[in-house]
Symmetry: C2
Subunit: 189 residues, 2 copies
């Protein structure tokens, strides 16, 4: 997706250790024009899988997922990292780890919003080590729903996450795939 | 906004103690068709204020803010509750409290994304006690930006938050205003 690659080149900041800062358009401030196009592109790639729900993790997954959900016209569920007082009954839980906060977290989804007859499309901002995405996959499994696809906005191929998704045998898509950083600039696949 | 009131009547669950559960369409699962219309209505009400940025708090504020930002074509900044490793320099900070998690939190925004010449529209999911919104106002003040409006999706008028915003002398809008719960059903203004 050229517009996204251009934005990464113009505004992404490489902080070292494989960490790309995209806070100016995706993870802290959001560029709504870009995000709308990201949603349209995700929707285009997965429409044929006929997802019935999108699953993501708060907070950075919400924007691309909502943008895609508006086009696909299916509900979006965002996994919580803390159980709110409004969540009743026994939810689905999966262990995870926050890359940008360097700590263990738990992802929690109410059993009300993931059903065995659902076809789930998982979306997240990054595909790097795939830890968050694999936790979301665990939630789908717990619910008995069918996983039909995994989409990320930015993939860092050198962190190997895609290989960890191979066994799932579902369509995996990333809108920008970074293979390396050279002179602090992203190199795209 | 009739569509929103209808949704609250159909799917909102009153849990007692003034707590309305809207997890099926706003705070855990998001109805994208409704959220798109929420964004359009917020944008319509505040377009004349010419905001240059929208400010909200993660996570539940992101969806309505993004939906509005797409229409207004201005960037959206979501205040973080924990400082990510990508946030450099000294950010703006404000104390707050999570209503749905019953604990103190801090709202944090990088100084990169709130500037003195900005015209800020604050958006949040609920206007109840106004604690979160007043923390966002504190962040706007710290930055030197101009506050031009405050919008919420659902207001619980009986919690008195709107009175605490009077002194700010800005336009305050809520798309559904609940004055009370009677027989576990919301009564609208």
């Amino acid at each position: 997706m050229q517009l996204l690659q251009d934005k990464i080149h113009a505004e992404g900041q490489y902080l070292g250790n494989g960490i790309l800062k995209v806070d100016s358009f995706m993870n802290h401030q959001i560029d709504p024009v870009l995000m709308k196009e990201i949603g349209e592109e995700i929707a285009r790639r997965f429409a044929s899988q006929n997802p019935t729900r999108i699953l993501t993790a708060e907070s950075s997954g919400i924007a691309p997922s909502l943008a895609a959900a508006i086009v696909l016209r299916v509900p979006l569920v965002f996994a919580r990292k803390h159980q709110p007082i409004t969540m009743q009954g026994e939810p689905f839980r999966a262990k995870s780890e926050s890359h940008t906060h360097k700590k263990d977290v738990e992802l929690i989804v109410s059993a009300e919003y993931l059903k065995p007859d659902d076809r789930i499309l998982i979306i997240d901002d990054f595909l790097a080590t795939a830890r968050t995405i694999l936790s979301l996959v665990d939630l789908v499994r717990e619910s008995g729903a069918t996983l039909v696809g995994i989409g990320s906005v930015i993939e860092k191929t050198f962190e190997g996450g895609r290989d960890k998704l191979n066994h799932l045998d579902v369509q995996v898509e990333s809108l920008a795939r970074i293979t390396a950083f050279e002179n602090d600039k992203a190199v795209f696949a």
